[in-house]
């Protein structure tokens, strides 16, 4: 019971995070939401996980959850990668403005 409550709180956190990320990266947000939702469901109904696992050809429900967890980690990594790219775009915009503002005219360059 304690484990279930703990996991539920964690997964609710993930769900909330995925929801806030949805507008920025819809693909990442959507997959994370679905996965977190499924996680919540199986935490409270583990027998369903075993049933689903055997349905898709995985031995135990625990294994299924392990695989899903790997997928979540990969999504988080992808999301971080995309965030870094957004950061780079901001830095680029800033650098560009600095460069243009400091453009050296021909005369100044030739006399230096």
């Amino acid at each position: 019971m304690i484990a279930q409550i703990g996991l539920s709180i964690l997964l609710l956190g993930v769900l909330f995070y995925a929801w806030t990320e949805y507008s920025r990266a819809p693909a990442v947000g959507l997959v994370s939401m679905v996965v977190a939702g499924a996680g919540l469901y199986f935490v409270w109904l583990p027998s369903q996980a075993t049933w689903l696992a055997s349905l898709v050809g995985i031995g135990r429900g625990v294994d299924l959850i392990l695989y899903v967890w790997v997928i979540i980690s990969l999504m988080v990594m992808l999301n971080l990668h995309l965030k870094l790219r957004s950061q780079t775009e901001l830095i680029t915009a800033l650098t560009r403005e600095i460069a243009i503002a400091n453009a050296r005219p021909v005369s100044a360059a030739t006399t230096s």
Binding site: R24, A25, A27, V28, L78, H81, L82, R85, S86, T88, E89, I91, T92, T95, R96, I98, A99, I100, N102, A103, R104, P105, V106, S107, A108, A109, T110, S112
Partner: protein, 229 residues
């Protein structure tokens, strides 16, 4: 800017550590009367100083961002200078200054907003087979993804009108910008025309050019961009 005869044509040359050749390249185009802006992409050598000494306006990125970012900076700078026509030109000396006029001419005669240089319509000097195959693959990929029927997708020599240039917003800082630029042209719906140009392959330009491993990186960059914002 101090009284140039024709302020409407701007050449933008992105350069990163090209000190060995930039002076000659800039001098060659400056003497033809174009306004020349060299975008020094955070070079660690003398590139910026030599470009300035040869008569270019130097716009310096404080940090190295990549050729795509430098091109976009150049386009933005030229637009703010009031450019009517913007020509992009490579810093490594592989383009012929004589081709610039035919590109600009092609804009007016075809009422086009983009004139794209093509080495496959024109000529190449000393092009290795490996480079030819790589470029053919890149061209095939771009045709597939943009729907533009172009023969040479990775040619740094292009001319665009002010209207065309204002529609270009490059987000790919590194080398994927060549495909991205064609993407933007396709999306703008403006008219483009291909113009034969000659590329001269030298030991120098080949050493700085793209290899197969870079093309994989370009694919990753292009796919990642479609996933956010």
């Amino acid at each position: 800017m101090p009284g140039e005869p024709d302020t409407s044509i701007w050449l933008i040359i992105p350069a990163y550590n090209e000190a060995a050749v930039i002076g000659r390249v800039v001098a060659d185009v400056v003497k033809r009367g174009y306004n020349v802006a060299v975008i020094d992409d955070g070079s660690t050598d003398e590139t910026g100083r030599r470009a300035g000494a040869a008569g270019a306006i130097v716009v310096t990125h404080p940090i190295n961002l990549g050729q795509g970012a430098a091109l976009q900076t150049g386009i933005q700078f030229a637009l703010r200078q009031g450019a009517d026509t913007i020509v992009t030109f490579d810093a490594d000396g592989q383009h012929r200054p004589a081709d610039i006029d035919s590109l600009i001419g092609a804009l007016t005669t075809n009422k086009a907003d983009f004139a794209l240089g093509s080495r496959f319509l024109g000529g190449t000097v000393a092009m290795p087979l490996s480079r030819r195959l790589l470029l053919m693959a890149a061209t095939w990929f771009t045709r597939l993804t943009t729907g533009l029927n172009v023969s040479d997708t990775h040619n740094g020599l292009r001319a665009m009108t002010r209207r065309g240039a204002s529609r270009i917003k490059l987000r790919q800082n590194r080398m994927a910008h060549a495909s991205e630029l064609l993407d933007e042209i396709a999306r703008s719906g403006l008219r483009y025309v291909e113009v034969p140009v000659t590329i001269e392959y030298s030991w120098y330009s080949l050493a700085k050019g793209q290899r197969f491993a870079d093309s994989l990186r370009i694919l990753v960059d292009l796919s990642a961009q479609r996933l956010h914002r």
